[in-house]
Symmetry: C2
């Protein structure tokens, strides 16, 4: 038994409508000691993603919901501080879905990607491991390339383009030969970042511009590939501007995640018929057997300076739920992280 304190945030109540800080409860417990095949990790970086809002709904989905009273599920990076497993030694930096807690106990033999922990890719920082080399980068990579099936010269539209996944998808589009990449984001600062730093051809500020008419203006021949993270009115605006045989990659629908009742779907979905388009969803965990190919590409692009993996790092264990809320307030640019302890 160590005298370490495992500070943690547990799910207290299922949110109704917009998730609140008070839906989580701060708890301190003595950290446990690892048994055979286990390691104790000290988390120092926590990652946030919109999909986590779905994990705390009491509905059947692609992963079981987080139970009331359970530590909130999240990807993290930490350092091994005690080891009773051959696979990992004290001092190893690891990443896994280890939750909103300081001292997770990890079973290194856990089969699921929601159990164990892996060492970071060689040379990767904690920030990179949780963004471009984590589920975010893989989601952008396989969503854009495998589901989107891009063709040379495609006109590409990305919503949530200043977000973690959107910003990587938009850059992959540019790298992979799109003739034009247009991003949708909220506010002039994000829009400027999209065009000036990420090299997008145009950016649409959904907070101050009419999205549909701006898509029509920037993509006069229509959109061949629409990578959508937002849903709602943004998805409708995209549907109204698709080119024939266009493809819509459904990556997420953040506009609806905090709605108390399920909002209507896209009113104009029959544009899929008129324009002969395809709309397809995916879940990145289906691609876990193909991580290797993604890592090679993503690693090369980062090393060559072609791919910017922006992170927004907040600080403090006490600010973890608050940091989660930033996603839905549109505050983050790039991957939302929270550093909860010192890096070793």
């Amino acid at each position: 038994m160590s005298d370490r304190v495992n500070r943690q945030w547990r799910l207290k109540t299922r949110p109704v409508g917009m998730v609140k800080e008070s839906d989580f409860e701060y708890v301190e417990e003595p950290a446990e000691s690892p048994g055979e095949g286990q390691v104790l990790v000290r988390n120092f970086m926590v990652a946030f993603e919109p999909a986590m809002r779905g994990w705390i709904e009491d509905v059947e989905s692609y992963v079981p919901p987080v139970g009331i009273g359970e530590v909130m599920r999240a990807s993290t990076v930490g350092v091994v501080v005690e080891s009773k497993a051959e696979e990992l030694a004290v001092g190893d930096i690891v990443t896994g879905t280890l939750g909103w807690q300081e001292y997770p106990l990890v079973d290194t033999r856990a089969p699921s990607i929601f159990g164990g922990a892996q060492k970071l890719p060689p040379g990767a920082t904690a920030e990179q491991a949780l963004s471009v080399f984590g589920l975010t980068g893989l989601t952008a990579y396989f969503g854009y390339l495998d589901v989107g099936q891009p063709k040379e010269g495609d006109v590409v539209l990305v919503s949530g383009a200043a977000g973690a996944t959107g910003s990587i998808a938009a850059q992959i589009a540019r790298i992979k030969g799109a003739s034009k990449v247009v991003g949708i984001a909220g506010g002039p600062e994000k829009c400027k970042w999209l065009t000036e730093t990420l090299g997008l051809d145009a950016a649409i500020d959904y907070k101050s511009e009419d999205v549909s008419s701006r898509i029509a203006e920037t993509c006069p021949d229509g959109v061949d590939l629409f990578f959508d993270n937002v849903g709602g009115a943004i998805l409708e605006a995209g549907l109204d501007n698709m080119a024939q045989k266009g493809r819509i990659v459904l990556c997420g629908g953040i506009s609806a995640y905090n709605e108390e009742t399920q909002p209507p779907g896209p009113r104009n979905y029959m544009q899929l018929v008129i324009r002969r388009c395809r709309m397809e969803g995916f879940i990145v965990i289906d691609y876990m057997n193909r991580i290797g190919e993604a890592m090679v590409d993503l690693g090369t692009w980062v090393a060559e300076g072609k791919l910017v993996a922006e992170t927004d790092v907040q600080h403090g264990m006490e600010n973890v739920p608050k940091t989660f809320l930033r996603l839905f307030e549109g505050k983050n640019r790039g991957k939302q992280l929270c550093q909860i302890g010192d890096a070793p």
Copy 2:
């Protein structure tokens, strides 16, 4: 100048909400005489399809809208009564998009499928030419096989299954190796016809049953391929019951065609993400260069008695608009036709 009278129905007003007989105007004109390269046809069979409701909206679509005062656009079968074209002789039976009129003038050199007329496929009746060997059969064939990409053993769901396209799609599913075919239709008579005559495994009566729970009951492992002609609540029920990697073929959305304002899209479209599904639309005119392969298959299946091409034939030029309305009243079983004159 012949003394033939060209009885016709013209679009009088653009319908608001449910289309009415009074949206069309009965007109009589002297039939015209064919010029060089033209023939005069006497239509005797008119076909109806839900998509025609879209053609009379004043919106840009895959075909231009029918203008106010123009003869209503429709597929027909007729006989050539005068010819000044080498391609067609008096007495030839032809089909084309010749409209709600008795004596259309046809330019045999018209390039568009919305212009000219072709002889019927060898051995085909007028009814067959307008159903299984017409756009209806082609829509079912390419929608199911090309867009749906069926796999051996698929569990298949078809909505509007007693309609013209749905009934053919459902039978193609059975012929092409689906492990189960379930049809959705309105009323016990249609449902009985689906299972007893068409050989479907189960039928769901949307008028008296809870569609979603009946899909769950009849397809406990989920639906691999959903061929949707209806949209609205039926599409939502299908989305809630898709198997992973399922495909939804968007063929039509008759539930919304007569709505005054565009109804909401499928509330649960994010099931496409959770279940990793694809939803894709198509327009049959894109397949005109592949008619040959479809005709061989469809012809063989009809000849072998594997494919029933049901038609619902009403009578009388005066009843043409009324017959169109039957589609939206759910009255037709199979292809809706109206005989407006004697077959030669």
